[in-house]
Subunit: 495 residues, 2 copies
């Protein structure tokens, strides 16, 4: 028998190398050429990474395949994590205004401030409000009265216990997430409750300012130099009950960022993506679009565009909102969109089709795009137009879209060099800090044994490339980042 | 500001339809044209499917996203499941010799046969042996003696309890799989133990014959007409200790299949893929390749080729075996391969690279190919050569490669019409029967709301197209299947 196999004519090693090279060539960041020192650092990094993965294959304890609430401690012991922490990661492009800081600061600092009132709702949820005198009752008749927290604490036998219980209302973190949150309904209910609870604290003007400042600080300490925040711009209030409008909030974000930049010259800045909730009726979203256009016009350097936030599975689809979302086009105004789309496991549903509409509506980036692998045409067009997905591994895991991050759809996207950035969504709610935990999951779990320093460098570069910075701002930002990157490399080489 | 968005020139609905159509066109089975009656059945099927998914979105109880051991009862209540059960599903191309039947028959029938001896090993594992007189002890000194099961049962107070405990040793099924099997090491250990325990029963010549017959029956009742079995062809023994060689086993498979076909004219047949275990040294695999070539020559219509089985993560890689696997090419003999490859979550490891070697070694099909989405070059070449992956959803879930089947990599493959077949691997160990449970998972979980009767029909057609049947056998098989298919459609239309 004469055999005519296509591969049998060449030796197996040659065929393998050809395949390995073809796959290498298309991987995210593969085209980057590393300088000698970078190669050296890469060598060390990959040795650590391989050791960690090889050990995990034996022990079967691999952080990216565990729930983050269990994995966190393991991750923070990892040598790879410590390198990632020091690495200048560029920008965080997918964050929500008040999901950034962990609850600790809110409990120990904010709730200990003067004039802080607390209200225990019969449903078990909490509300806070700062005021000169006791606020009037909530509209719901059966909600309990407002109590001055200072007085309440004074009468407690065990304040630590109370503070710990407060902390639990500010975060999703629990010892047994599998038990606490049986399904997505459970975790999203808690998620919404946290936003509600935290709201009265963070919208008090002095806390509002401090929250922004501390957020910048936390990310800066995590070697992130630039942030784009999805911000709801809800009314901020003063002690006397006076409230501020959205313009005031935008100005405050701007001022605080400038203040922070003064003492941190490597800090590049902050932009806002004005966001409304997809639970609202289209008529209200129409108003929000008008507001977004106005804000974008008034603050062209601070308000980058518009997004819709909240749970996709139960919210309105982008198609439901088409009349609202087409207003800028109709009016010939350019309002960039940064739409959450495809944050769902329900393939083929109207929700899943948000990805189509995000593309059609010319979204500048796609928030999550978790469902994108199910949409080959959308994928193709997005890639042609170089529209990136914002991958938030820990968020997707905690919100129960995927269990083992090695099965995250971004795995296949990273393998073909699909445009993406890594972000952390609401790290404060997840018990994460800055971007490093998510970078660890992406580098170890999503990238597998193949992702190396090139992948990481590309992710950092992408975070500027796909940001809303103007081209001159991008240039400056990249220069600043490159300096930091070189220092990072040099420090590691010296070791 | 003049806006030049690429999509804004055309109405949103037009753009959407264009995208929806493009995605529809490439989906698995989309090019099939249904006749009027099929369209009608499709309509009804999709109504049931949509109702089931819509309900699951509310209740958050969706079988494909639950562990199969929990989901099974729900699945069997599903209307969609009952239609799938009746549907002529074609062929089962990825099955292992003694993983087909559930343990019930082994306990209630086989272990009650005369001359059955049992041995309780100190490690807690069981062994069985049929013999005229008590078998001599195992080689390990500390294993307990062989006891005639008939006598043993006679002295038991509670035989039902004992039989239930036996049943548990024949299956992976437990009430709390998440607790029982903490990781892949645990589940594979149990998996190997089952094979070991069952071995003494199924290799007793009369049981061997009955096992084959019942397997054909079970699949036939599940409307599967043709099987390709990965078979180890281990020695089969008689009561007097006499053993039979591989040729005898192949002949027996052939004879039993012919016997079964006599009474079931729509039954198409059975082929074997001789398989050895990837834990063995290359020298032994070289011998197995020689054996495979000999068997393929002696039984060209029954022995279709060769495969390597057992856990990939801990076994030898295909590359380790390259000298053995290249023997047929070197000798100019054609031995088709049906290689398991990519049944791993460990991206970028030498195990993960089995996919490269399966391609290079011209595997006729790929067993699982779970890791394929991480290998764009392999994917491209396999597709060019029309090499399908054998997707076994329940197996992948039970063996802990993926939790929620909506995150199975085949989701993206189905969306681009990648060549695939659905199979059940070792349904007996998983508590599944035939192919229907796996078809349910594939149709509901992997296909999402988009997969319809076309997808199912294509999967059935694929099962013949990618089988080892000769082209004339395929033609006959497809004709027989089409008749069954039309009856299936007509019965549903009448309702
Ligand atoms: Zn988000
Ligand atoms: Zn298998």
């Amino acid at each position: 028998v004469v055999v005519s196999f296509s591969y049998s004519a060449i030796p197996i090693d040659e065929a393998r190398n050809e395949l390995l090279n073809r796959e290498k060539m298309v991987r995210l960041g593969e085209h980057l050429v590393l300088r000698k020192e970078e190669e050296q650092v890469n060598g060390n990094l990959m040795t650590l990474k391989k050791a960690e993965i090889t050990k995990a294959m034996k022990t079967q304890e691999f952080p990216p395949s565990m729930h983050f609430f269990h994995a966190k401690k393991l991750i923070e012991k990892s040598d790879v994590f410590h390198i990632l922490k020091k690495m200048p990661k560029g920008a965080a492009l997918h964050l929500h205004d008040f999901g950034i800081l962990d609850g600790d600061w809110l409990v120990k600092n904010v709730t200990y401030r003067q004039h802080c009132y607390i209200c225990f709702n019969p449903s078990g949820t909490l509300q806070f409000r700062f005021a000169h005198s006791t606020p009037s009752n909530n509209k719901q008749d059966n909600s309990s009265k407002w109590i001055l927290l200072e007085n309440y604490r004074r009468e407690l036998q065990n304040v630590t216990e109370f503070d710990n219980s407060l902390l639990k209302t500010f975060t999703l973190v629990t010892e047994n997430p599998e038990v606490t949150y049986a399904d997505q309904h459970d975790i999203w209910a808690k998620f919404d409750t946290i936003f509600h609870t935290v709201s009265g604290l963070v919208h008090y003007a002095p806390v509002f300012r401090d929250y922004i400042f501390r957020s910048l600080e936390e990310f800066f300490l995590d070697n992130v130099m630039y942030l784009e925040l999805r911000a709801m711009l809800l009314p901020v209030y003063e002690l006397n009950g006076e409230t501020h409008d959205k313009e005031w909030s935008v100005r405050t974000y701007k001022e605080v960022a400038e203040l922070f930049a003064k003492d941190h010259p490597e800090f590049i800045g902050l932009k806002l993506i004005y966001s409304d909730n997809r639970s609202k009726d289209v008529s209200l979203i129409k108003e929000s679009i008008q507001t977004a256009m106005a804000l974008h016009t008034s603050f062209p350097k601070t308000v980058a565009g518009f997004d819709l936030v909240g749970r996709e599975d139960t919210g309105h689809t982008l198609y439901d909102y088409r009349e609202a979302l087409l207003i800028p086009t109709m009016e010939g105004v350019k309002l960039p969109y940064f739409l959450h789309a495809g944050e769902t496991d329900w393939q083929g549903t109207s929700i899943d089709n948000n990805l189509l509409d995000a593309l059609i509506l010319n979204s500048t980036r796609i928030g999550h795009g978790f469902a994108l692998s199910k949409h080959p045409a959308v994928m193709e067009d997005l890639r042609k137009r170089d529209i990136p997905i914002e991958v938030c591994p820990i968020s997707n895991q905690v919100l129960k879209l995927v269990t083992d991050l090695r099965n995250h759809p971004a795995v296949a996207f990273m393998a073909i060099g699909y445009p993406m950035v890594i972000s952390s969504d609401d790290p404060g709610f997840f018990g994460a800090k800055g971007l490093t935990h998510d970078f660890y999951e992406a580098f170890m779990g999503i990238g597998g044994m193949n992702a190396d320093l090139r992948t990481l460098k590309q992710l950092a570069i992408n975070s500027f490339k796909y940001s809303s910075l103007s081209s001159s701002e991008k240039k400056t930002a990249l220069q600043t980042w490159e300096k930091e990157w070189d220092t990072f490399i040099d420090n590691l080489v010296k070791k």
